[in-house]
């Protein structure tokens, strides 16, 4: 087996590279829709026995736990029964190496009476966070998922209604072995905007034609200028005046209604729509009824179960249908890196915080509280007030640990996964250096999280009183 592959692996790598080139050309990559909270799955994908919908980061953390449990089962079953047995090699040996290395590492920092508890916490947090971080390196995570209609809506305070605004979605395409994918080539323009633009073009064309019929050269030219430039919004005043003078200057040639209609704003508009249609993008004149609803009669009461209650957008339309081209789409990944969700990092940070306080009480009893509320020296020494202030600062600092723990991990991994998105989008074939970078970032962040927990736990076991100094020395 091994000899067969010698010298041939490079060709396999070349083939995969060429395949990557082909896929990148055939299916242009898009930047996934970037969202900080975990994306909710569509309706109907509830967590068993609970009325909560899955989020994709939750799926990721469930996978992490399953992998970790399989790992534990494997290691426990593979462990030599007695010391005389020859040590097994391979994967198990790698685990032993990791275990022994980290045991020595933590032993140097927090060796002592509470080493066992501290090391258990260290190793658990390390493995969970490491697996969670490394999930962003797995192909398919963050990229394969539901193709989900996406409409951003905004509450209009003045009119007291929800308004559909521009979206970040993409046009959907059917193709490539029957797999649907979304494409970033089309700028999705909401049907309402389309209709507005059409109407503006019509009005402008009518105005131009009317002005031309009046057969007053100056007015016609001015109206034509207005018709051509009126739908671009308020233009620059100075430039407009200059252009207007030019138009009046050469307005001697006769302008008739036919030429205005042929070359005027309506023709431009039609040409623009045709160009977009040629690219395979959707164009249409306000075919979507939900945009005209004023949402006054939507009380979340009825409608079919497969439609968005507010807009009647079909939630799972056939991607190849004409209907599907009416809504912008985003990919809603099945699995997202769990460390990019604040819920995951915050919960581990809370566990770490609770364990730090627990080990403090376990080691020092109720006296642990004097670390925070230190009134013993208040009346004894002239600088006793400082001790009180220091204790209060310690209390604040302990709660700040939760924040710093959770945001450090979230920020690093979320930024890392955005880096991978963007690099895969810009350089679809060769984002490997960034994957190597993220590999190391994942290890370092897991190590920092676990190490800080171990160090703070060790600090909590050490009393700050001077008469306990020998205890501290003994621990080392």
């Amino acid at each position: 087996m091994n000899s067969f592959w010698n010298g041939k692996r490079r060709f396999v790598a070349l083939l995969m590279f060429l395949g990557g080139v082909f896929v990148a050309l055939r299916v242009p990559p898009v930047i996934p829709f970037i969202q900080l909270p975990g994306e909710k799955f569509p309706e109907g994908y509830n967590i068993p026995f609970l009325d909560i919908r899955w989020t994709n980061t939750m799926v990721g953390s469930v996978i992490v736990w399953i992998v970790l449990l399989l790992f534990v089962v494997y290691v426990v079953r593979r462990r030599p029964k007695d010391g005389n047995e020859a040590p097994p090699g391979g994967f198990y040996n790698m685990f032993e190496m990791l275990f022994e290395g980290l045991m020595g590492f933590v032993g140097g920092i927090a060796g002592g009476r509470h080493f066992r508890l501290i090391f258990n916490m260290f190793m658990t947090i390390f493995l969970v966070v490491l697996l969670a971080n490394w999930m962003e390196l797995v192909p398919g995570v963050d990229t394969i998922g539901f193709i989900h209609p996406h409409v951003k809506e905004k509450y209009d305070v003045e009119k007291d209604e929800y308004k559909v605004i521009t979206t970040d979605g993409y046009e959907i395409y059917q193709g490539f072995l029957g797999i649907s994918y979304v494409n970033g080539q089309c700028d999705w323009i909401s049907p309402a905007d389309e209709a507005t633009a059409d109407e503006a073009a019509l009005v402008a064309a009518a105005a131009a034609a009317k002005a031309a019929e009046m057969d007053m050269n100056q007015d016609a030219a001015y109206a034509r200028y207005q018709a051509e430039h009126g739908d671009h919004g308020e233009g620059d005043e100075a430039a407009g005046d200059g252009h207007g003078d030019d138009s009046r200057g050469d307005a001697t040639e006769s302008v008739n209604a036919v030429s205005v209609a042929r070359e005027g704003p309506l023709a431009d508009r039609m040409a623009e729509k045709q160009a977009r249609r040629d690219r395979g993008c959707y164009t249409g004149v306000n075919p979507v009824p939900w945009l005209e609803d004023d949402h006054s009669d939507d009380d979340h009461a009825d409608d079919g179960e497969h439609t968005d209650k507010k807009h009647g957008i079909p939630l799972h339309p056939d991607p190849s249908s004409e209907e599907a081209k009416l809504v912008p789409w985003v990919v809603l990944p099945f699995v997202r890196v769990p460390s990019t969700d604040l819920n995951m990092t915050l919960s581990i940070a809370l566990i770490a915080f609770v364990m730090i306080q627990y080990i403090g009480f376990k080691a020092l009893g109720i006296g642990y509280l004097t670390k925070f509320f230190n009134f013993s020296t208040l009346f004894k020494s002239p600088l006793g007030g400082i001790d009180v202030a220091v204790g209060l600062l310690e209390l604040i600092g302990d709660f700040a640990k939760i924040l710093s723990f959770s945001f450090r991990l979230l920020g690093n991994i979320f930024a890392g996964s955005i880096l991978l998105f963007v690099m895969s989008f810009l350089v679809p074939i060769l984002p490997w250096p960034f994957f190597i970078l993220e590999f190391f970032v994942g290890v370092i962040q897991a190590l920092v999280f676990a190490l800080l927990t171990a160090i703070f736990m060790n600090l909590a076991t050490v009393s700050h009183h001077h008469d306990d100094e020998h205890d501290h020395a003994e621990a080392h």
């Binding site: 900080l36 919004g233 979230l410 920020g411 190590l447 920092v448 190490l451």
Partner: protein
């Protein structure tokens, strides 16, 4: 300029300004690692202790930069 562009402009400028905070983290990490490498060069026997303390210091210094990053990410992706 229409309101949508104004919002995007404000978001982009705000996110960029928030990331100035990362400079402090960078300086801090540079100082910490520089000092640690010098110390390791002088007495290699103490490398494990120095390394641990270095990683700790780097993590604290980095945290500040990460706060800046989180603020700018929130400006970009959460505010609407």
């Amino acid at each position: 300029m229409d309101p949508q562009s104004t919002i995007i402009l404000g978001k982009a400028i705000g996110a960029g300004l928030a990331m100035i905070g990362a400079a402090g983290g960078g300086i801090g990490i540079g100082l910490a690692v520089g000092g640690a490498v010098q110390a390791m060069g002088r007495n290699p026997d103490h490398t494990p202790t120095i390394q641990t303390n270095m990683i700790l210091g780097v993590a604290f210094a980095e945290a500040v930069a990460i706060y800046a990053l989180v603020v700018s990410l929130i400006i970009l992706f959460v505010l609407s």
